[in-house]
Symmetry: C2
Subunit: 218 residues, 2 copies
DNA sequence: CACATCTTGAACTGATCAGTTCAAGATAGA
DNA sequence: TCTATCTTGAACTGATCAGTTCAAGATGTG
C-alpha cells in the first residue's frame, strides 16, 4: 500500500452535505463542493461520484443521522408521548440553534425542489418525509392516543417540524419557533387529557392549559 | 398610435409567476420565461425587466394576490376567530387543490432559498412572511384571545400554513393537509373555550373536542 | 531506490446561462 | 401610402456549468 487515502470520507461527506444544505442542489456547483470539501475536482468525481449521486448520498446521510435522533427522541412515547414529542421537536430546534449548521432542513429544501430534481432524488426526499410520518404514527399509537388522533397528530407534528425549516430560513427567532411548537405540544397535551378524562383516569399533566411560549425544555 | 402592445401584461406576469412558482428562481431560465409567457426573449427584457427584477415583480404580485385573500378570510376574526382561521387555511388549501396552479407556495420557496437569493428578493420574501404574521396577530387579538395566545397562535398558524407548501410539494394528500390544519384549528377552539370558561361565559362551540380529520369546510 | 497507488491541477468539451443588440417585419393611425 | 411604434428572431458576448481526461507529482511500502 502506498499513497493512502489522504482525506477522511466522513468529513468530506459532511462538508458536501452542509454545502447542499446551505445552498440547495441548483445553487451548488461542483467547484463549490470542491471548495467545501477541500477535495480536488477530480477527486470528487473519482471518490464521491457525480453531482447527482453525491447529492443522493448527502440526502441519505442527513436522513439517517437525524432520523436516528428523532427515533431516540420518540423512544419514550409509549410511557410519555408528550415528552417524546417535545424531544422530537427539540432535535430540530437544537439543530437550528447550532451555529455550525445552516438554517433550514435538507429534506424540506429537497421536497420544495421536487419538480426540478431527478426522480431518484425526489423519491428519497419523499421517502424521508414518509418515514418520519410513520415513526410519529407508531410512537403516538404506542402512547395513549386513539388511532385517529395518532394519525392526525403524526401528520401535524411532521408538518410543523418542516415548517420550522421554512421559518428559520426566513430568520425567525428562537422564541418564534418555540411558540410554533408550543401550540402543537399544548394541543397534544389537551388530547391526552381528554382521553384520560373519557377513561375516567387522572392525567399526570396539570389541569390548566400550558403556555405555549413558556414551556419548559429539557 | 400604431404597433400597439400585442400582449396582456397581467397574463404575461401570471405566466411568469407560475413558472417561478413551479421551478424556483435558480431552475428558471429566461428562455423558460419566454416559453411560459409566449413573449419573445427581447420583449421580456424590454417589457418585464431582467430576471431578478421580474422575479421581484412576480413575488410581490403573488404576495398581494393571496395577501388580499388571507385578509378577506380573516375579516370576521373579531366576531368569530375560529371561522376566520379556518377560512385562512382554506385560502391555502384551495390554492393547493387548484390543478391549474403548482403545488407549494412561492413565498415559502423563496424563503427556503434566501441564502442564495439577491438581498432585495430575500427582503421581500421575509416581508411577505412578516406581514402574514402581523395580519394573524391583529386578527386573533381582535378575536377573543389574550395577547400572549394571539402572538403564539399567529406564529403557529403562519408556520403551519407554510408547512402545507412543503407537504403538498412532497405529494401529501388533501386528507393529510386537512389533518395538519385540523390539529391547529382544534387547539384554537380549545383555547377559545378555555378563555370563555375563565370568563364564566358560554362558548358557541360544542363542548366535545372536534375531530381534526372531519372538520366541516365552507 | 523502485514501484504501485493515490492526488493534483490544469485543460478541454459541449452545453447552457444572462444579458444585449439589431435588422427585418408587422401593425395601425394619419 | 407614409410613418412611427412595437414585435420578432436571430446572433453574439462573456461567463459558468457538469463531466472527462491525463500528465506530473506526492506518498509510503517493499
Amino acid at each position: 500500500m502506498a499513497g493512502k487515502k489522504q482525506f477522511d470520507m466522513d468529513t468530506a461527506l459532511d462538508a458536501a452535505m452542509i454545502q447542499f444544505w446551505r445552498a440547495g442542489y441548483a445553487d451548488t456547483s461542483v467547484d463549490d463542493l470542491s471548495r467545501a470539501t477541500g477535495l480536488n475536482r477530480s477527486s470528487i468525481y473519482s471518490s464521491l461520484g457525480d453531482k447527482d449521486t453525491l447529492f443522493l448520498r448527502c440526502l441519505d446521510r442527513y436522513a439517517a443521522r437525524y432520523g436516528d435522533r428523532y427515533d431516540a427522541a420518540l423512544s419514550c412515547a409509549a410511557s410519555d408521548p408528550l415528552t417524546a414529542v417535545r424531544a422530537f421537536f427539540d432535535v430540530t430546534l437544537d439543530r437550528i440553534a447550532d451555529p455550525e449548521l445552516p438554517d433550514g432542513c435538507l429534506v424540506a429544501q429537497s421536497a420544495m425542489a421536487i419538480p426540478v430534481l431527478s426522480p431518484a432524488v425526489a423519491a428519497h426526499a419523499k421517502e424521508a418525509l414518509g418515514v418520519q410520518r410513520l415513526r410519529l404514527r407508531a410512537a403516538l399509537k404506542a402512547g395513549r392516543l386513539t388511532d385517529q388522533d395518532a394519525d392526525a397528530f403524526a401528520d401535524h407534528v411532521a408538518a410543523v417540524n418542516q415548517s420550522l425549516a421554512v421559518m428559520s430560513r426566513a430568520g425567525a427567532s428562537p422564541a418564534q419557533l418555540l411558540a410554533i411548537v408550543g401550540v402543537t405540544v399544548d394541543a397534544l397535551s389537551q388530547a391526552l387529557r381528554s382521553r384520560d378524562q373519557h377513561r375516567g383516569t387522572t392525567s399526570a399533566e396539570p389541569a390548566t392549559r400550558e403556555s405555549g411560549t413558556s414551556r419548559p425544555r429539557r
